[in-house]
Structure formats: C-alpha cells, structure tokens
Point group: C2
C-alpha cells in the first residue's frame, strides 16, 4: 500500500479529492470532506483545487482541520471540455495534479467528481496499468430488484460503462476478474456471480468477442461465471457483476437514468395534477421510493475505475456532499483491502 500524508496522520488513509469541476462547484466536495473529517477518523482528506475557493468553502462548514489538507492547483478541466485537449492545455489542472499526488504516494486514492474522460485520462498518464490489464474499465454500481451478497445489497456492478468502447475477448475476461474482485472486497460478497451481457443465454449467442470471452470464462474455475444474461437481467439483478464493452454498458447505464427520469416526472405530474393522485402518492410513497431506488443509479454515484495500480473512484458530477463522503469511504475501503493487488492476483490465477 502506498503511504504519504497517511504516515504523518498515524496510519490513516489519505484520499485526494479533485475539488473543482463538479456540477455544484467546490462547495459540495468540501462539505463531503468536512463530513468525513468529523465521522471517519481513519480518513484524511487532501483537497486539490484553488486554495482560495477551498478555504472559503471550509470557513463555512464545520470540520476537523487535523484531518483535512489543501493542495493548490490553479486550473481545472471543465465538465464539457474535451478530455485530451483540456489536460494538454492545463497541466496544472486539479485532476492532473491530484492524479500525480496519488502516483507519487502523497495520497492513497483519488476521488474525482468532475469530467469523467479527463479523470480516466489523467489516471492513464500518472498511474500504471496492473500487469495483464490492457485497458482500464469504468464500473458502475446500480440498484436492482434482486439482492446480492452477505449484506443483501440491492446493487449490481456493470462494467465497462465507457472507458473501453470496443473490447477484445481478453478485455472482457479482464473486466470479469476486476469486477468480481471489486464486488468481493467492497460488497463483501465472497463468491460474486459474473455474467456476460449478450442477446441470448446460449454460449454461441452474441458478437464474436462475446462468444470467445464466454468460452474462456467457462474455463476459469475461480470465477463464479454463470454464463450470458440478456438485457432483461440488468434491472432484475440476475448477476452480481455484468460484463460488457464500454459502448453497450454506457448505453444501458444511461437508459436506466432515462427510465428513472420518466418515473420521477410521472410522479411529479401525478402529485401536481389531482388531489386523489396526491393522496394516493402519499400512501404509496414507500412503494414509489422502491421503484425510484431500482431506477436511480445516481444515488450510489461512486464508480470505480478498475485496472490501474492506484484506486480511483469517479463520483457523479451531480454528487452532493453525502455522495462525495460515500465515495471517499469506498475509496478508503478499496485502499485498506489493497484492491489493485487483489486484482493482480486474480489475473495471475
């Protein structure tokens, strides 16, 4: 495990937060770190961004100053900016500086709520890929109908959701190992079931890369490979880990978001339009919340970027303080269990 500020802090885990570039500006990220400083004594937050903005935000929120440090970065890559261009033009952007601090051991992990492409690219520039990994994957946790693991979590993991648009059979196998390792460590699910997303459950269904990945995964006894799942299995939660290329995964994840928006919109409409509907909605509120939970992947916004030798959690750009704090806790858990080493071991076996 890498140590840096962590050593100074007496064994705590240091998480670097890219404070800039999220949808809500620095305040929500700083508030998230402030929460952590009060409730998570094992975590030290290293806030990376414009010192003036960070200090101003910190002054407004209760926090434990001993568990928060600030590292100044004058620039940042904006949400709509092209990742490659943004990073080239701004070598001192907060995401680039934060990734370098983690690579140099000044922090143990990185939480990034800003531009997704820039976060992955900054990681690719500063971190190393784990031996055996050709391409990193962005994995998303999303809520399902079925419950998973010993904690009966109503979540599954889907990867890749956008880092690697076209995946080789080797990539898909790597994603399966990485996703399974993450679910085992973070969701405390000792034997996560892993499935390939395809257009049919038979082993010969799907494009050539999926069929070949199926054949290889079948031979890997250390994985709980349950074969193919179809699209219907995604919201149902038929597998703990769903493996696909980044193009398909991205479309699926955003579709869940669209369905959620539709459900929320209809609920709002029902609330506004009729008294009987409003009463009905109140009576049904816990049922509605269940539907929303199943469709709202965003509330659990922390998406791990898997495949690098350092831990990177991509928080959703719309994350509020609570989601940021949760992302910090997940990052600390991944560091404590040495996720990158566990993935490397999984790939060797």
């Amino acid at each position: 495990m890498v140590c840096g500020y962590a050593d100074l802090m007496g064994g705590s885990i240091t998480i670097a937060f890219d404070v800039m570039g999220s949808d809500h500006g620095p305040m929500e990220v700083v508030r998230g770190a402030a929460h952590l400083s009060l409730e998570a004594p094992h975590i030290h937050a290293l806030l990376v961004g414009r010192r003036g903005a960070i200090d101003e935000a910190l002054a407004q929120v209760r926090h434990n100053g001993e568990r928060i440090s600030v590292h100044h970065a004058p620039d940042f890559v904006e949400m709509g900016e092209k990742p490659m261009e943004g990073l080239s033009a701004k070598p001192m952007s907060s995401i680039a500086v934060a990734a370098r601090l983690v690579a140099e051991g000044e922090a143990d992990a990185l939480v990034a709520p800003g531009n997704t492409g820039a976060a992955i690219l900054a990681a690719a520039q500063s971190f190393k890929l784990i031996p055996g990994v050709r391409r990193a994957a962005l994995a998303a946790v999303y809520p399902t109908r079925a419950r998973h693991g010993t904690k009966l979590d109503p979540f599954s993991l889907i990867l890749d959701v956008g880092a690697t648009l076209e995946a080789t059979p080797e990539d898909l196998v790597t994603f399966a190992v990485m996703g399974s390792t993450y679910a085992r460590i973070i969701s405390r699910n000792p034997k996560p079931s892993v499935a390939l997303l395809s257009n049919g459950t038979e082993p010969n269904k799907g494009p050539a890369n999926v069929v070949e990945a199926h054949r290889r995964l079948n031979g890997m006894k250390e994985l709980q490979f349950i074969g193919n799942v179809e699209g219907v299995g995604i919201p149902l939660g038929s597998a703990d880990v769903v493996v696909c290329d980044g193009f398909v995964g991205n479309v699926c994840l955003k579709m869940l978001e669209g369905v959620h928006e539709t459900v929320v919109e209809l609920a709002r409409y029902a609330y506004r339009s009729k008294l009987t509907w409003r009463v009905g909605l109140a009576m049904l509120s816990s049922g509605i919340r269940q539907v929303q939970a199943v469709t709202d992947w965003q509330q659990y916004g922390g998406a791990p970027v898997l495949g690098f030798d350092r831990v990177l959690i991509k928080a959703h750009g719309r994350s509020r303080a609570r989601a940021i704090a949760n992302a910090g806790k997940v990052a600390a858990k991944a560091v404590a269990a040495d996720l990158p080493r566990a993935i490397a071991e999984g790939l060797r076996s």
Copy 2:
C-alpha cells in the same frame, strides 16, 4: 404490389398468419384472425398450420368464413429450437410454408408470432432483399414519454434489435432510411426524426462504424437526421427512430422489458402487502398505467422486419388475439402503402 387470394377477394389484402409456434398455441392466433374477419373487411386472413388444430379453434370462435382461408402445414419450428436447424429439418414447417406462399403471391404479407430467428431466416430463404440492402433489420415499436408525429403517438421505433448483430456504417445508414420510411407510412409522421444511438451526442463519439454512419447521415438531406442520442434518450423518446446495431438494440429492448417487470412486480407487491398501499395504488391507477405504458413495449408487440421485398411483421410470442389482430392491420397498412417500394425509393435518393 403482389396479389393472390387478394384478387379473388375483390381487392382485399391477404395476410398469411403462421398459426403455430406462438407461446399460447394456435388458439390466440386464430382468435386474432377471427376478430379481423369481423371488423376489417379489407383484410383476408390465410391461416397456415395444422388444419385440424386450426379448424378446431375456428369452430370455437365467431368469425366470417368468407374472409378466412386455411393452408395446411404439417410441421412447425418451436420457440426454443435453433432457427437454422429447425428450418432445415422441417421444410414443411408453418413458417417456411407461409413465407413461400407470400413469395409466390398467394398472400401479400406475413405475420409471424413464433420463433423470431426462424421467421427472419424463412424470409431470407423465400423473399429477396431490396436492392441496396445488405442485411435485414428487425425494428421494434416501443412506448416513450415524448409523443411523436401528427397522431401524437407515444411511440418510437428502434432498429436493429437482433437481426444484424454487427452493423457496418452502410447497414446503419440503410436502417435509418428503412426506419424513417416505416415511421412515415405507419405512424403518419411526415418527417420522422432519426438519431444514431451512441455514448455521447458529439459526432465523433462512438465506435468507428457509428462515427462513419454519422458522417454519411449528415449528408443526407432527405432524412431528418438529428445526430446522436445517448441511452437516456431511448425511454424519453428523444427521436422518432433510433438506429443501432442488433446487439445493442436487443440489449436495450430487453432492458425495457426488465424495467417493466420490475415496475409491475413492485405494484403487485404493494397491492398485496398493505391496505394503505392498496388504496393508494387504486387512487394512482391511471398514473401507474402511464408508467407501465412507458415501460411495456410488449403491448404493441408487432415488430416489422425491414429490408425484404415482402412485408413481414414479427408479432411477440406472447401476443394475445388483440395483438395478433393489430399486427394484421399494420401488415395490411404496410402492403397498401407498398412499404418495400417506398424503402427502395428512399435508398435510391
């Protein structure tokens, strides 16, 4: 336009129905045709399958015998059978016989509620591809939040959803033209908006085939091409026609089915478990129906197979009589407007 029985029937349109192989057996298909014989004087139904089973079903249901004929086919391809093997082993299967009857002009169009792969393969064996079409596409109508066309239909069309797993840029362009033509003719939408499904709205987003298709579609002024949509745009109905390869389309369509099952299941659970929930549900019932309509693509189960010189409507295997009758009406509408010729013209321009 092809004529056959139609000539004998004084200008009516003859639709061949593959009566066998659907989930509910011959009865529902026969009942659907019986409805049509009573309410749609312009349609003649040619029922293809085991004469004994069909006659038995007809005897149980009110119908107009002048608008129904029967063509005996001794075999059928079952739902779970492999299409290629099933068709090779059973040259006299109902789907193969029905496709040949349409190709020979004995009927004007084919409605097939059985094995999807077998229906497309039987069409490929008996029909011709329209000049300029390399691969046929299966298109699905699904309900959306937005409303479309002059009739303000709450439906969009997505294609391909499983006929062509890996699509070239040419295929995607062909799908765009075919889908647009179908929406124009069947949904009475004079200028349907057409979008490519991708992982971002920018023209350079997506795998190479999507980026190249985007470039070509941009140059086609006769199409209302609105660029890329992301997954979120599918349930929202951001475009009248969504174009993608068959693998992605199949996963998306089945995901909508999974979300629907989840919503229905939660509603059932709410209904069973608490009196306040039950009352709330009753009060909200029209709101719930709206959510269900948005997620239940099955109730509008007729999926056109586009690209052949003959009209083929794939009805869902779970179709009840009403859905079968609707599929027959859609097929007749496509024949009356000469959909294959309209597609050929669209591809030439």
